[in-house]
């Protein structure tokens, strides 16, 4: 599915995707959070790009780890530790691999998601990024069993992610700052769910 070169380009694409949607993400956050998600994610990915470009020739694991460290050091808020953990755990699962297949990627994403759950003490259905990441992972796992190309698998994963984004509109937040709003969080898309969906879209676009 991907070598180090492609993984690097995917992260650069993610950075572009986040930058292009910076104001949109911040706007989503203004409605139910604290008005800074796009700003902070953009800061994190800008730094990830600088870090990765400065790496020279590196392994898949090192590239993803550098992105994770940039998230932790530059995003702040809750998105920093959560995305940082997602990338670091994924990097750990990709250790010693020069080329990853779809099955490897599902393993990386699964470990990343487990890390996010532990760090955020959260589960699916709480109006968070997990409502996008978990359905996307499930779609990838199904595709990995059924066979087919990575592109096809990510097409399904992206569809599941987009559905997950819309699902967050229909539920009340019980984690994160939006949870303070109680019922008032209904009808709004979770900004973290949306940023996760953008990252999956970036992968799909480059495959």
């Amino acid at each position: 599915m991907a070598n180090a070169e492609l993984i690097k380009n995917i992260i650069l694409q993610m950075a572009q995707e986040i930058e292009g949607n910076k104001e949109y993400l911040t706007g989503l956050d203004a409605a139910i959070g604290d008005n800074d998600h796009g700003i902070n994610m953009n800061k994190g990915f800008k730094n990830a790009v600088i870090k990765i470009n400065g790496l020279g020739s590196q392994s898949i694991s090192e590239i993803i780890k550098a992105a994770g460290m940039a998230m932790i050091s530059h995003v702040g808020g809750s998105a920093g530790p959560l995305y940082g953990t997602l990338f670091l755990k994924a990097a750990g699962a990709a250790k010693d691999k020069d080329e990853i297949g779809l099955l490897d990627f599902t393993q990386m994403l699964r470990e990343g998601i487990d890390g996010v759950k532990a760090r955020g003490k959260s589960e699916r259905h709480e109006k968070t990024m997990l409502d996008v990441l978990i359905p996307a992972l499930e779609a990838l796992e199904e595709s990995a069993v059924a066979g087919g190309s990575a592109k096809q698998a990510f097409e399904k994963a992206l569809a599941a992610a987009e559905e997950g984004v819309l699902y967050t509109k229909t539920i009340v937040a019980t984690k994160g700052r939006a949870s303070y709003l109680g019922e008032r969080s209904l009808g709004h898309i979770d900004p973290g769910a949306m940023s996760s969906c953008l990252l999956i879209k970036a992968i799909y676009d480059l495959l």
């Binding site: 911040t26 203004a30 139910i32 959070g33 604290d34 008005n35 800074d36 700003i39 902070n40 800061k43 932790i72 050091s73 530059h74 995003v75 702040g76 808020g77 809750s78 998105a79 920093g80 530790p81 959560l82 760090r119 955020g120 019980t174 984690k175 994160g176 700052r177 949870s179 303070y180 709003l181 109680g182 008032r184």
Partner: protein, 332 residues
């Protein structure tokens, strides 16, 4: 947006430099980091570190000094500082007695400080944490992440600072912090939203005759929206909820903190305090001390919060002990 700033992305950096230049007798910046620490590193005591997003000035860096904090970590506006920044603060002020992190209960703050604590423990630094959640506007249940930490943190810094300064152990200081957390409650209202410099526009809008009730200190919307009321009715609304949660009986002693959110004049805070005083006094509560002013702000938001801390003998003595910091002084 109309603000006295330069580039929006530089506000925190420039603010920290300006603060350090204003109070060199108290604090200095750790070069290359967004951390303010005491100029005179105090050994032989538990080190206290607080922090959070910027935009709450004078919190938290304004409370670095004798009898309060050893360091404050300044995140981006309304954004928790990152673990590497908190870790740097821990390394700079740690003592053999240990380090206590004072965290306000926000998902991001808790995660970032916990990650920093894990980094410190990995290097053999004795480190513990307390989390303050004093905002009664947010219902605490197993379904939410719990209450927010807001202005009550100022009273926590004061009392825990005195406990640490007196040479108590990390365990003792932590126990005192937990006691303050159990006895302080806060609730606030806002008349206007505020503008995060990098966002450039307000996070919510309010009509001229509306107020947001039960909001936090990050420009996030509150739990409900009401028509604006006279000051006395606003205070009744707030205090009824605060006292319902932490009842005060006749003869109890308390500290009152009437805190401005950044855009409300002292005149209005004093008017509010008059009513707080009347309500507590009529219940036979003895007001040991009243603090009125801006301590935990939300940039230029108009509004206020009222915090009530129930005292016992130990907390009273610690509250009265000497503190000498840029933004809070007690003469002991």
């Amino acid at each position: 947006m109309k603000k006295i700033i330069n580039m929006p992305e530089n506000v925190v950096d420039e603010m920290i430099n300006g603060l350090a230049l204003a109070y060199p007798q108290y604090v200095e910046r750790i070069e290359g980091f967004d951390v303010i620490k005491r100029t005179d590193k105090k050994v032989g005591k538990v080190a206290l570190i607080s922090g959070g997003g910027s935009g709450h000035e004078p919190s938290h860096a304004g409370f670095v000094g004798e009898g309060m904090l050893d360091a404050a970590v300044c995140g981006a506006v309304f954004t928790s500082p990152t673990p590497d920044q908190v870790f740097e603060a821990i390394k700079a002020v740690q003592t053999e007695e240990g380090v206590l992190l004072i965290i306000k209960n926000y998902t991001g703050d808790v995660m970032n400080f916990e990650m920093a604590m894990e980094m410190a423990e990995a290097e053999g630094i004795k480190c513990d944490k307390v989390v303050i959640a004093d905002d009664v506007a947010v219902m605490n249940s197993t379904w939410t992440i719990g209450r927010r930490g807001i202005a009550g943190a100022v009273l926590l810094h004061k009392i825990v600072g005195a406990a640490a300064e007196s040479g108590k152990s990390l365990e003792e200081v932590k126990a005192i912090a937990e006691k303050v957390i159990a006895n302080v409650r806060t609730m606030g209202i806002a008349l206007t939203p505020c503008i995060v410099p990098e966002a450039g526009k307000p996070s919510f809008t309010l009509e001229d005759d509306e107020m947001e009730v039960g909001l936090g200190i990050h420009g996030e919307p509150g739990v409900s929206r009401m028509k604006i009321m006279p000051a006395d009715e606003i205070i009744e609304t707030l205090l009824d909820k605060v006292l319902a949660d932490n009842p005060l009986a006749q003869g109890d002693e308390a500290v009152v903190l009437v805190n401005g959110l950044g855009g409300t004049p002292l005149m209005e805070l004093f008017i509010a305090n008059r009513k707080v005083n009347e309500m507590l006094t009529s219940k036979g509560v003895k007001i040991y001390n009243t603090i009125v002013g801006e301590f935990m702000t939300s940039i230029e938001m108009a509004g206020l919060s009222v915090s009530i801390l129930k005292l016992d003998g130990e907390l009273k003595a610690l509250f009265s002990a000497k503190a000498d910091t840029p933004a809070y002084k007690a003469f002991g």
